[in-house]
């Protein structure tokens, strides 16, 4: 893998690389160089399978992290490629020309995170949320609890009682407050 990283870093700038397991590596690259790197990995290094494409919302740094997970069938290595993009102007180059099935991931990311992929087929159609009007729900500034309580008629929950007070009330009722009981207890 070191040879591979050397070859890659001669071509583009590597922002960082970590080894998680013997068969799982992560590298971080810049947004503009991603397409070049992916096509190189697919055509020359044998990473022919795009396993998934997912996003994480780092609201503290005001950016999204996209992870492109590739798999090499020859030496059975997973390689995750991380890209950070701006959260306010979230836009990313579409990779549906390299892997045609990527349009589905991109459509899902557009709906749940609001990340736009210009040129990706059917990216603006709704996927699981039909007729959604709020901000995309997987963004961390979307308050799901407040939204559900506003929308879905919450059922009133259970209530608890103090056992001592409750049994006193149930067994003796108003009689518990009478002076005779007080005197015997004291």
């Amino acid at each position: 893998m070191d040879q591979l990283f050397n070859r890659i870093s001669r071509m583009i700038k590597l922002e960082g690389s970590t080894k998680q397991r013997d068969d799982l590596y992560f590298i971080t690259v810049r947004k503009e160089q991603l397409e070049l790197l992916l096509s190189h990995l697919k055509n020359y290094e044998g990473f022919t399978h795009l396993a998934f494409l997912q996003a994480v919302d780092y609201i503290e740094n005001n950016e999204f992290q996209l992870t492109y997970m590739l798999y090499n069938y020859d030496n059975r290595v997973n390689l995750g490629i991380k890209v950070f993009i701006d959260r306010d102007k979230s836009e990313m180059t579409s990779i549906h020309k390299l892997w045609p099935h990527a349009w589905q991931y991109q459509r899902e990311l557009h709906e749940l995170f609001g990340i736009d992929f210009p040129g990706s087929p059917r990216v603006h159609e709704s996927f699981v949320l039909e007729g959604w009007e709020e901000i995309p729900p997987m963004r961390r500034d979307f308050d799901t609890k407040a939204y559900t309580e506003r929308t879905f008629y919450p059922r009133p929950g259970r209530f608890t009682k103090d056992p001592k007070e409750y049994m006193k009330e149930k067994l003796y009722g108003n009689f518990a407050e009478s002076p005779e009981i007080r005197k015997n207890n004291d």
Partner: protein, 213 residues
């Protein structure tokens, strides 16, 4: 009242079908569902007894509760000995089982299937998700209370309920049918505007007729 007033009232009683495109509105019925009253009390009791002996349920797996229907069908729990059989289409079914959580996309199909079923029709709701949201209590996409959208006859608690609990729920439904308490269809027809209002508040892209005959 002259004829003009009657025409006006009839026009108001019709459904607008505003979700459909203009050229398709003629293709769908615009009548409201109406309440069905039995004429003969004793004959209705006999019919309720007969209905409770032959429940045909809609095999529409909504949510994870659909996994509990398979052991119920097969030889170990064998629901056929209780007179319960699955049917593939809502037109032939009389019991609708909502198995667990219902997302907004599913509740649209649930409403549509429920309205297409022929009366008398009954609804069994499985799992705590249909009662108060269950483990999806703070999900942006899952409803909390099913009885705000369609009338429910029997709730079965659990996450998920075992097939024994399902059989107990079916037996409870049979008791209710024999006692003549399962009036969900009439309840839906009486409170039609309330149910439609609740449904349209969460289903934002309403692109079907207001009542699916």
């Amino acid at each position: 009242m002259d004829k003009k007033d009657i025409d006006e009232i009839e026009h108001q009683m019709k459904l607008a079908n505003e979700g459909l495109p203009e050229n398709e509105r003629d293709l769908f019925a615009d009548a409201r569902p109406s309440k069905v009253e039995s004429q003969n009390r004793y004959f209705e009791r006999f019919r309720n007894w007969a209905r409770s002996r032959s429940l045909w349920m809609l095999a529409f797996g909504t949510g994870c509760g659909a996994t509990e229907i398979r052991p119920l069908m097969t030889s170990r729990y064998d629901m056929f000995r209780y007179g319960i059989a699955p049917r593939p289409t809502p037109r032939q079914a009389s019991v609708f089982i909502v198995g667990g959580y219902a997302s907004i996309k599913t509740i649209k199909r649930i409403v549509r299937s429920y309205e297409q079923m022929q009366g008398p029709k009954y609804v069994i709701a499985l799992g705590s998700c249909t009662i108060n949201g269950g483990m999806y209590y703070d999900s942006y996409n899952t409803i909390k209370r099913l009885d705000y959208y369609i009338p429910v006859d029997v709730y079965i608690t659990g996450c998920m309920p075992r097939p024994e609990a399902l059989i107990a729920g079916f037996n409870r439904l049979k008791e209710k049918i024999r006692a003549g308490e399962c009036e969900g269809m009439n309840k839906y027809a009486e409170n039609f505007d309330w149910y439609k209002n609740n449904q349209k508040q969460i289903i934002k892209d309403w692109n079907m007729p207001d009542y699916n005959w």
